[in-house]
Symmetry: C2
DNA sequence: CGGGGCCTTGATGCTGTTCAAATAGAGTGG
DNA sequence: CCACTCTATTTGAACAGCATCAAGGCCCCG
């Protein structure tokens, strides 16, 4: 599904003009699991997902990333998660350290901010996964996304399989829960990817959060 | 269960001599959920656990901490997790920033190291929680602890309820899985808290890791 | 010796998975 | 624009694994 990336180092970024800018098509891998983690990737435009393949073949989705996010921040020498583009994306590639760039300190600070943000989000994800029921997980997921993309209609960048692997459930369960939430009038789905929250309060209670 | 801590600022630490040293008895709270997160806590001696109470009353255990670990590293202004002493413990309390101490930079670096370590461990925890079956979770847990406390006989500092809340299971399931692992000869329990891994390879396969 | 945690074991029910099939949607070429 | 194909999503039915409820055992400590 994810193919090797086309390495067209071309345009220049207004933020870090010296950084290499890469383009990834939908489904392409930005970096691989177990690859050396000496680079970080700034998502200039597009959407991405990180995931980890377990030895038994199952997949745990780590997180979803949007414009401006730094991807590939990890605590070890090698990437525990891989990253893939969920839509056509532009990415700035930055060397983590040892860069001779004049604004190396700025990069350092950006990495520090991104690390704490990453920690915050992994903790939130952990609490979602720890939830008791599938409904709690899905409700929490919908709320979390609505908050991140403040707008009336929320557009999901990922498919049901990604949601399932993010929440530790199956696509069938996701689908069933969404159908039930809709029939109960808590949310409304315009199509599989676009939804609107009709009763934030009750959805929040359901999420137990 | 957890009582308020006795605030006996007394002894001096060889590492950060200017830091306040507190003593906590087993079960006492080191800091509370939603408390301002302007301090970090260095565990000089003892064992501690962080946990988060969900609105529905359930509890998610965050992590377990040992001598030398920094506790209370979080990305937000308030603690998402509380911390409790699992055994009588000594703790150095450090102000996160704005400290006028002569080695403020050293503290900063320690916090940076602890943050990346925290991220690494939360990610590992996430992958454990994402595991499919109870056996995979418990096997992973036993391996993780054995690795952390390299020794023949591993002594667990927590009870079954803590394990259950860490893994998102019930005490009964924990107990059943442990019994089965033992009857299959993968591990041996000397008593409820002390175990030895008899077949690391097969336990590792079971954990799918 | 008795009380109270903590842990283990048993029986039953429910939730989510698995397997299977139908439906909807997107993309392609006529 | 329509027919066709391929994939994603939804829905259904049966099953499995974990939770729940309940009881009994173990161990520490008074």
């Amino acid at each position: 599904m994810t193919t090797v990336a086309g390495m067209d180092v071309a345009a220049r970024s207004p933020v870090w003009p010296w950084a290499a800018r890469l383009h990834f098509r939908q489904g392409e891998a930005i970096f691989a699991q177990d690859e050396a983690a000496d680079m970080v990737y700034r998502l200039v435009h597009g959407v991405a997902r990180t995931s980890h393949i377990l030895p038994d073949g199952r997949r745990q989705v780590g997180d979803f990333y949007f414009e401006g996010d730094l991807i590939g921040i990890e605590a070890e020498a090698r990437h525990r998660f891989s990253a893939e583009a969920l839509a056509d994306s532009e990415v700035l590639v930055l060397r983590r350290e040892g860069s001779a760039a004049y604004d190396a300190r700025m990069v350092e600070r950006a990495i520090w901010r991104a690390t704490t943000e990453e920690l915050r989000r992994v903790q939130a994800h952990l609490l979602l996964l720890g939830r008791a029921t599938a409904s709690q997980k899905v409700a929490g997921f919908l709320l979390q996304f609505a908050e991140r993309l403040r707008s009336q209609v929320v557009v999901l960048p990922m498919n049901r399989q990604d949601m399932a692997d993010y929440l530790g459930l199956t696509v069938e369960t996701i689908s069933r829960v969404l159908s039930r939430l809709q029939s109960e009038g808590l949310v409304e789905f315009l199509d599989a990817r676009r939804y609107r929250i009709l009763r934030p309060r009750r959805l929040s209670e359901l999420a137990a959060d």
